[in-house]
Symmetry: C2
Subunit: 155 residues, 2 copies
DNA sequence: GACGTGTGTAACCTTCACGGTTACATATTC
DNA sequence: GAATATGTAACCGTGAAGGTTACACACGTC
């Protein structure tokens, strides 16, 4: 099964917003951290905004902020906001209905896929953005860094 | 996240083999049930054979058979045999290492993805091919069918 | 051993989704 | 009004995947 990186980008974006407190961050700045094009970021920001996870303002000196505390944003919410399509794919065409298996396999697979999807999202729901941020900022405690001051500024 | 239908095809194929008992089924016949090209089936059969799930013979009047009882084949085995790539995708390029979040997000995401993948496969592992076959063959008990005899032949 | 049957696999095509990019209208702040 | 920043349409290039053709090889039968 292939995969998009929308979810990874979204978690990254939200982690940056969380690390900034209530300070607005522009799509340009976020694109700099994710290392991609600002439009890619804006597309994701729109989805996250529709899902009620962030607030976005237009105009000079504005940007996006989290609409809730990081501890109130679970990863399955981010997943659903950014990955509308299910993780599994059924048959591209209809199977042969003249075959017993072909006639009924689709319903069985739908059931299997649905439960697997639930399991996946449940596991994601066990972590919040605050957990992600904690792990990320643990870097500050790590020894042997040589760019911490600069990194803290450019982050 | 996009998805391939390799897993769906594989479950379908194995369900057909299971429904045939030990009788060999050719890739042509399987292609007829799945409604695709025999080569697509053969590619999957090769993967399933390598995973030790089926036995395949060449030559006239041969075909593939299950190498184990349907109750001994769990869906997560089929998943791993047919979907070598993980279900999640990380960043396509490296994030900006001068950003605190960018420097550490990859490791965090790897951890999240790994646990989600485990949850997904665990859920799949709760069902076997025998469960799938049972649900499929329940069709025979359903009322209002008009093609059961023919279907049983052509299956 | 020759022949028919069926697998294994390479090669190629088409389609499609996705990230990336450009361009521009719109909204907000100063 | 100027500068800044979002929202979105439009397009491109790339890569993955299913589908298809073609053919070499293996097996069983005669």
């Amino acid at each position: 099964m292939a995969a998009s990186c929308r979810f990874a980008f979204a978690v990254h974006i939200l982690a940056v917003l969380a690390s900034k407190g209530g300070q607005g961050v522009t799509s340009d700045a976020l694109a700099g951290s994710v290392n991609t094009n600002p439009v890619v970021i804006r597309r994701l920001l729109t989805a996250l905004n529709r899902a009620g996870l962030i607030d976005t303002k237009k105009g000079a000196g504005s940007g996006s902020t989290l609409s809730r505390a990081p501890g109130e944003i679970s990863l399955d919410e981010i997943y659903r906001a950014t990955e509308p399509a299910p993780a599994f794919a059924a048959h591209p065409h209809k199977p042969n209905v003249r075959c017993l298996v072909g006639r009924n396999i689709t319903a069985v697979l739908d059931s299997v896929f649905a439960s697997a999807q639930v399991a996946l999202e449940d596991e994601l729901g066990r972590r919040t953005l605050a957990d992600v941020l904690t792990t990320v900022t643990d870097d500050l405690a790590k020894p042997g860094r040589k760019t911490s001051a600069r990194a803290r500024k450019s982050a």
